[in-house]
C-alpha cells in the first residue's frame, strides 16, 4: 500500500508533465506572428504542398519548437544534476564556466576571426563551453587526491566564469559589432535558428541525457555524503566526473544554440524538486520535462505579448517563472538539497 501510492502519484505527475510539454509543442507550432489556421498547420505537417503557411510552419515553427524542446530538457536536467553534485541551491548549469566560456568564444570568434554566420558562432560557443568546463574541473582537481570537492568546484567555476565574463565585457566594449550580437545572445532566445542548429547541437544533448540518467543512482548515493557513498561501494570520483561531463554536454549544447538561458536550469529544478522529492531518478526526468514545457510556453507567450515584435524567451521565462517560483518558496518549506 505505502509502496504503491507514491509510485502511482509519480506516474500521474509524469503524465501531467508530458501533457504540458505536448501542449507547449502544439501551441508553439500553431501560434505565431502570422496567424495560420489549425487545419493548415495540420496540413503543412503531414502533407506539405509548398504554400506560404506550409513554409512558415515547416521551416520556422517546427525547428524552433524542436530547439525549445531540446534546450528546455537539457537545461532542466543539467540544473538538477548540478545542484545535486554541488549540493548548492545557487548552482546553475553554467556554474562550471560553461555559459561564460561559450560567450567568450563567440565574441572572440567575431572579433578575432571575423566569423559572421550563426553556425560559426555555435561551433565556437560549443568549443568554448567545453574548454572552460574541462579547465574548471582540472583546477578543482589539481593538487588533491580523489575528485574535487563540490565547494572547490563551485568556487573555481565561479572564479573562471567571472574571469571570462570580464574578458568578454572588455571585448564587447571596444567592438560595436560584437556588442550587438552579445546583447541579444545574453537575453536568450530560440527564435530564428533554423533546423540546422537543432541538428548541430542534438548529438551533444543526446549524449548528455544518456550520461545523466546513468548518473542518477550514483548521485542519490552521493547525496548521503561522500563517506557513506564510498562505503556503499560507489566510486565517488567517477560518479562526480560522469555527472560533470553530462552537465557540460547538455549545457554547452543548449547555451551555444540559444544564448544565456542557463538560469532556466537554476529555477526549474527547485520546482521539480517540490514535485519529486530528493530522489534523482525521478527528479531528473521531472526537471527535464518541466524545463521543456516552461521554455516552450515562455517562447509562445513572448511571440504573443509584443506583437508584431517578440520578447525573448529567456526574458519571458524570468518574468513569469520567477514570481511563481518565489510564491512556491514562500508557501511551503523548500525541499532541501
Amino acid at each position: 500500500m505505502t509502496a504503491l501510492r507514491p509510485r502511482r502519484r509519480r506516474a500521474g505527475v509524469l503524465a501531467a508533465l508530458l501533457t504540458a510539454v505536448l501542449a507547449g509543442a502544439v501551441l508553439s507550432v500553431a501560434i505565431g506572428a502570422k496567424s495560420v489556421p489549425l487545419g493548415d498547420v495540420w496540413h503543412a505537417l503531414w502533407s506539405p504542398g509548398g504554400t506560404e503557411s506550409d513554409i512558415i510552419v515547416r521551416t520556422l515553427r517546427v525547428p524552433r519548437t524542436a530547439l525549445g524542446l531540446l534546450a528546455g530538457v537539457a537545461l532542466g536536467v543539467a540544473g538538477a544534476l548540478m545542484q545535486g553534485h554541488t549540493r548548492n541551491p545557487l548552482a546553475d548549469p553554467g556554474l562550471l564556466g560553461v555559459t561564460q566560456g561559450a560567450a567568450f568564444a563567440m565574441v572572440l570568434a567575431i572579433i578575432a576571426f571575423g566569423v559572421s554566420n550563426l553556425y560559426g558562432y555555435i561551433w565556437f560557443g560549443l568549443a568554448g563551453a567545453l574548454v572552460a568546463s574541462v579547465g574548471v574541473f582540472a583546477i578543482g582537481s589539481v593538487g588533491g587526491r580523489g575528485g574535487p570537492s563540490p565547494l572547490t568546484l563551485a568556487l573555481a567555476g565561479t572564479a573562471v566564469s567571472a574571469f571570462l565574463y570580464a574578458l568578454t565585457s572588455g571585448l564587447v566594449l571596444v567592438n560595436e559589432q560584437a556588442m550587438d550580437v552579445f546583447r541579444f545572445w545574453q537575453a536568450g532566445s530560440i527564435a530564428g535558428r533554423g533546423a540546422g542548429v537543432a541538428w548541430q547541437v542534438l548529438p551533444f544533448i543526446a549524449a548528455g541525457l544518456v550520461l545523466s540518467l546513468a548518473n542518477a543512482p550514483g548521485l542519490n548515493a552521493l547525496s548521503l555524503g561522500e563517506d557513506v557513498a564510498r562505503s556503499l561501494g560507489r566510486n565517488v570520483t567517477a560518479t562526480r566526473a560522469l555527472g560533470i561531463t553530462a552537465v557540460t554536454l547538455l549545457t554547452a549544447g543548449a547555451v551555444a544554440a540559444c544564448g544565456a538561458l542557463a538560469f532556466v536550469g537554476l529555477i526549474v529544478p527547485h520546482l521539480a524538486r517540490a514535485l519529486s522529492g530528493p530522489d534523482h531518478r525521478w527528479l531528473l526526468p521531472y526537471s527535464g520535462l518541466l524545463g521543456a514545457a516552461a521554455l516552450l510556453l515562455a517562447d509562445v507567450v513572448g511571440r504573443v505579448v509584443a506583437r508584431p515584435g517578440e520578447l525573448e524567451a529567456g526574458v519571458v521565462l524570468a518574468l513569469i517563472g520567477a514570481p511563481f517560483f518565489v510564491a512556491l518558496v514562500r508557501r511551503r518549506k523548500p525541499v532541501r538539497l
Binding site: G143, A318, F325
Partner: protein, 356 residues
C-alpha cells in the same frame, strides 16, 4: 574547509567583553592595510601627468602647484575605490555568513540587480538626451537612481523572504528568483535601445571609478563610519550562526532580530557602494572567500574581508586606468581578471595543504 589550524588564537578580556585574537588574521589584515597605503600612493603618482612622491606630499599639504590634479582628481578617485571595495567586502562577508553559502553575494539580496535595472532603464530611456545632459544626469541622476533601485530591490527580497522569521535557505531562493526577474528585464532593456546606449549601460553595469569626486567619497565614508561598528558587533552572532539555527538559539542568539539587523547593514553597505561606483563585479563574492583562506578560519572574517575588498578594488582600478592608457577600462572588468586567478591559486594551495 577541512584541516583548518587555528594557530594560537587567544581571547583577550576586558570586564564583560572578550575578543578572540587570531595572529594569522591580524597579520593578513595589517598586510592588507599596508598594501592599501602603497596602492593609494601609486594611484596618486601614476596618470597622464606623472608626479614624484615629494610633489604629492607638497600638494597634499597645500604648497605644491599640482593641488588640483592630486586633491581634486586622483585622491577622491583612489579613496572611492578603497571605501567602495571595503563596503562590498564587508557586505559580502555578512551575506555569505547568513546564507551559509560561499556563492552568496549582495546580488541575491536584490541590491545590485535592482540598482542595475534602474540605471539601465534610465540610460536607455533617456537615450540621446543623456548625451546632451550627461553632466547633471551622470553626477546626480544615476547615483540616486542606483540607490533607490538597490534599496527597492532589497525591500522586495526582504519582505518576500520574511515569513515568521528569516530563514537563510529561503532568503537565498527568494533572492535567486527576484534577481532573475531584474537581470532579465535588464537584458531586455539592453536589446531595445540603440547599441551605443547598450555600451554605455554596459560600462555602468561593469562598475567604474572614472571621474569620481569627493561627492562620491563622502556618502560611502559616512555609511562605513556608522555601519562598520554595527556589523562588527555582530561578529559573535555570525560565528554562532555557522552551527545552525537551533544551536545558535541555544547559545542565546536572538536569531530573527540579529539576522534582520545584520542583513540591513549588508544591504546598506552594498547599496551605497553601488550608487558610488556601479555594481563592481566579483569583489563582494571573492573578497570574503580570499580573506577566510588568508586568515585560516572557517567563516568569512569581517575586518579582513573589508580590507581584502579594498585592496582588490584599488589594485583593479590602478590597472584599469594605467595598463591600456589612454584607453580606460571599467574597474569591474579588471577586478575579476585580478581576483579570479588569485582565488584559484588559493583553492589549489588549500588542497595541497590538505593533502600534505
Amino acid at each position: 574547509m577541512t584541516g583548518v589550524r587555528l594557530p594560537h588564537a587567544r581571547p583577550y578580556r576586558a570586564g564583560k567583553i572578550s575578543w578572540l585574537v587570531r595572529p594569522r588574521g591580524v597579520a593578513a589584515g595589517l598586510t592588507g592595510l599596508a598594501l592599501i597605503a602603497v596602492l593609494v600612493a601609486l594611484s596618486l603618482r601614476i596618470g597622464d601627468f606623472p608626479l614624484s612622491l615629494s610633489e604629492i606630499v607638497a600638494s597634499l599639504t597645500g604648497t605644491g602647484g599640482n593641488h588640483f590634479v592630486v586633491v581634486e582628481l586622483r585622491l577622491p578617485r583612489a579613496l572611492t575605490g578603497v571605501l567602495v571595495g571595503a563596503a562590498l567586502g564587508l557586505s559580502g562577508a555578512i551575506t555569505q555568513s547568513i546564507a551559509r553559502n560561499a556563492l552568496a553575494s549582495p546580488d541575491i539580496l536584490g541590491v545590485t540587480s535592482g540598482a542595475s535595472v534602474t540605471v539601465v532603464a534610465v540610460i536607455v530611456g533617456s537615450g540621446s538626451v543623456y548625451g546632451g545632459a550627461s553632466g547633471a544626469l551622470a553626477g546626480v541622476g544615476i547615483p540616486v537612481a542606483a540607490l533607490a533601485g538597490g534599496l527597492i530591490g532589497a525591500v522586495i527580497v526582504y519582505s518576500l523572504a520574511w515569513r515568521r522569521g528569516l530563514d537563510g535557505y529561503r532568503l537565498v531562493l527568494v533572492g535567486v528568483g527576484v534577481a532573475a526577474v531584474f537581470t532579465n528585464v535588464k537584458y531586455w532593456l539592453m536589446t531595445t535601445g540603440d547599441v551605443n546606449d547598450s555600451s554605455r549601460a554596459m560600462v555602468w553595469i561593469s562598475g567604474s571609478l572614472n571621474g569620481r569626486g569627493w561627492e562620491h567619497v563622502a556618502p560611502v565614508a559616512y555609511a562605513l563610519v556608522v555601519l562598520v561598528p554595527l556589523c562588527l558587533a555582530g561578529t559573535r552572532v555570525l560565528s554562532a550562526l555557522r552551527f545552525g539555527d537551533e544551536t545558535a538559539t541555544g547559545l542565546g542568539v536572538r536569531l530573527n532580530a540579529a539576522r534582520a539587523v545584520l542583513l540591513l547593514g549588508a544591504v546598506l553597505l552594498a547599496a551605497v557602494a553601488t550608487a558610488a561606483a556601479g555594481p563592481i563585479a566579483f569583489v563582494a563574492l571573492a573578497a570574503p572567500q580570499i580573506a577566510l583562506r588568508l586568515a585560516g578560519v572557517a567563516q568569512p572574517p569581517l575586518v579582513v574581508s573589508a580590507v581584502t575588498g579594498a585592496v582588490l578594488t584599488s589594485a583593479a582600478d590602478l590597472a584599469a586606468r594605467s595598463l591600456f592608457a589612454p584607453v580606460e577600462l571599467p574597474v569591474g572588468v579588471v577586478t575579476a581578471v585580478l581576483g579570479a586567478p588569485y582565488l584559484i591559486y588559493l583553492l589549489i594551495r588549500a588542497r595541497r595543504e590538505a593533502r600534505s
